[in-house]
């Protein structure tokens, strides 16, 4: 297991270098000059422009610029935002908890509903619940996120007035972030009603972001369960006189989880991509919105640093899934 982990970590090196290069190249491929964008309506003099070009190092050839960037990254320095003049790291850590909170809520939502739904559908294969669930999952999977978000906003925020439309917290409440998670900080603040406000702000973004993973998890759980339910060892479990709950929920699900965990891990990548859209729709102050804003501003350090951090996160999540996979599948654990 240790050797396997080391080997896996070693494969991170080329991936990491590749991502660094791609994130560096990506933003530079986009047309638009960051200095002009920054100057905006005011414009700027030729001298000032030349000064900034030297300051940002744009006068040097691209390979040299990349080398400077890479050596910085390897020393843990992601640079400073052109716009806010704050280090990319600081901005990332200030905004990341918002994204993490939303993503966690979305994946918990997706698992909490998708997993049992998939199990129940498989156990009642071909019956009404199964068909209804599978059609719904197909719709959920192919639903345009933007349209879905608008629909929910119109119904729950507009017509019913139950949920707020944007942000993480009502304007009535204010407190300094401690953990960065509104659900926790609102409780720590001791302000009554703050927690409820945090929850209400989370509901719609969670549903919007969680819909596709929910559909994917439900479908994968169902098909994995169907396969497992026809196995001999399920017959053995039933021959012991165990209850259907134990046979389906323990003996079958435990085996079906092996492919499902992979799918959950893969949805984390999808989730981060979905977060960009969801955060933009709901003005959620997380890294998704941060990335979009920075791309429009041509804020090179933020975009390349942000992409690099997001990619690293996906790699770490995939590794975690792999380890988890080993734990739930004894055959793999033994081999490693």
């Amino acid at each position: 297991m240790i050797r396997y982990l080391l080997a896996r970590l070693l494969t991170f090196v080329p991936t990491f270098l590749g991502v660094t290069l791609i994130s560096f190249a990506f933003i530079r491929v986009l047309p638009g000059d960051p200095i002009i964008v920054m100057a905006g309506e005011r414009g700027l003099t030729e001298e000032r422009y030349a000064e900034l070009v030297t300051q940002f190092g744009f006068d040097k050839p691209l390979p040299v610029q990349f080398w400077t960037y890479l050596t910085g990254v390897l020393q843990g320095d992601l640079g400073v935002s052109y716009v806010t003049k704050r280090p990319v790291w600081d901005e990332f850590f200030a905004l990341f908890p918002a994204t993490l909170e939303l993503s966690l809520c979305a994946i918990v939502f997706a698992i909490a509903i998708g997993l049992p739904a998939g199990v129940i559908a498989a156990v009642n294969r071909g019956k009404l619940f199964d068909r209804a669930l599978m059609s719904t999952a197909l719709v959920g999977y192919s639903m345009p996120i933007f349209w879905w978000a608008l629909l929910l906003i119109i119904v729950f925020s507009g017509n019913l007035g139950w949920t707020p439309v944007s942000g993480r917290m009502g304007l009535l409440y204010f407190f300094e972030p401690v953990t960065g998670f509104m659900l926790i900080d609102s409780v720590l603040s001791g302000q009554s009603g703050a927690f409820g406000s945090a929850v209400r702000h989370l509901i719609l973004p969670t549903i919007v972001l969680g819909t596709i993973p929910l559909a994917v998890i439900a479908r994968q759980t169902r098909s994995a369960m169907l396969e497992v339910l026809s196995e001999d060892y399920i017959r053995t479990a039933r021959a012991k006189g165990l209850s259907p709950l134990r046979v389906n929920g323990l003996h079958a699900l435990r085996n079906a989880m092996i492919p499902v965990v992979t799918v959950i891990g893969l949805s984390v990548g999808t989730l981060l991509a979905g977060a960009i859209l969801t955060e933009t729709i709901f003005s959620w102050p997380g890294i998704g919105k941060w990335m979009v804003d920075s791309i429009f501003r041509r804020d090179y350090p933020v975009v390349q640093g942000g992409l690099l951090l997001i990619a690293s996160m996906v790699m770490v999540v995939n590794l975690t899934v792999d380890i988890l996979y080993g734990f739930i599948n004894p055959k793999i654990r033994a081999r490693k």
């Binding site: 060892y233 021959a239 012991k240 165990l242 435990r254």
Partner: protein, 321 residues
């Protein structure tokens, strides 16, 4: 009183191409401590009839019976929950494929102890002690270590021993062994059979042994039931059956056994067991029977009296038993 008594058991499967009768009006009676062998070619409904008794058939199966009693209790009238208190406790079953019959995600110990908790309510310490005892009973060396092993770390023979340990864990009064050795190496086959007969003698449980192996039948069983195409075609105590088979099918099975045979498995009889689409209108064995005539081809044969081995045949063989 009989421990198990089943009368007129039929099982129909709903398939894409219509309904298919896999078990057709079968009677099974087993007394306490009895050993019944069920023999017949592949596809003759041996497994399906026993799975019907266990309540383990998929929902596509429709089970009907005039009587299905275990220990005097009517299994048909029970709720599934009540029936599950008998299944795995008083009636246990082991299967043909030991390797795939154990759950790959749980340790051997976990799978053995599960029934002990459910049916006997033993605490963790008592479960562990009983599991060790069972591992020793079924002849698994190094039981302490084996209890925490996973199924993929064991051979087929070891897996079948674990299956047997699991099956006898709650001291069942009836054990059904469905071709328990078919998937194993020849040398292991004898060991597993010896183990089963030894455990049967030791515990006094009744045993239903489904097998292909006429040699095994001769050595192990007290009574033999011969099944063909979903029907029971003959039933006799083992001695008389080998001496005077009354059904042409039984007779054909025995024809090459045992001295003249190079293999102990069922000799091949020309032709195949009829399936869903080629069931003859009269006697199901008629297409392969050396004695078949027009009556056989058109009229289903009656069941003959016990003196004639309850055979389903118009023209039973052999003199009065």
């Amino acid at each position: 009183m009989a421990l198990l008594s089943i009368r007129n058991l039929s099982v129909e499967f709903a398939t894409a191409s219509g309904s298919f009768r896999a078990v057709d009006a079968i009677d099974v009676t087993v007394d306490p401590g009895d050993i019944l062998a069920i023999v017949g070619e592949s596809g003759s409904g041996k497994s399906v009839s026993m799975l019907a008794l266990m309540g383990l058939l998929p929902w596509t199966a429709t089970v009907t019976a005039d009587e299905m009693r275990f220990d005097g209790k009517d299994l048909r009238a029970m709720t599934p929950r009540t029936r599950r208190r008998i299944i795995g406790k008083d009636i246990a079953m082991i299967f043909q494929e030991p390797m795939s019959s154990l759950n790959p995600c749980f340790t051997v110990g976990f799978q053995i102890k599960e029934g002990l908790k459910k049916h006997l309510g033993l605490d963790a310490r008592a479960r562990h002690a009983r599991a060790l005892e069972l591992m020793e009973m079924v002849g698994i060396p190094d039981p302490v270590r084996r209890l925490s092993a996973y199924p993929h770390q064991m051979s087929g023979g070891m897996s079948q021993r674990v299956m047997i340990a699991m099956a006898i864990a709650c001291r069942p009064r009836l054990l059904i062994a469905d071709e328990p050795t078919t998937a194993l190496d020849v040398t292991i086959q004898a060991q597993i059979l010896d183990l089963l007969t030894a455990l049967q003698a030791e515990t006094g449980m009744a045993l239903i042994l489904i097998t292909h192996d006429m040699g095994v039948v001769a050595e192990t069983a007290r009574r033999v039931s011969v099944q063909y195409a979903g029907q029971k075609v003959e039933e006799q105590p083992v001695g008389p059956l080998f001496a005077t088979p009354h059904h042409p099918y039984t007779s054909a099975l025995l024809a090459a056994l045992p001295e003249r045979a190079t293999t102990r498995l069922l000799p091949t009889i020309p032709g195949v067991v009829p399936g869903q689409f080629d069931r003859p209108p009269g006697c199901l064995f008629a297409p392969r029977c050396a004695f078949a005539d027009a009556t056989c081809q058109n009229t289903p044969p009656p069941v003959q009296p016990p003196a004639k081995g309850l055979v389903r045949c118009h023209y039973p063989l052999g003199g009065p038993a």
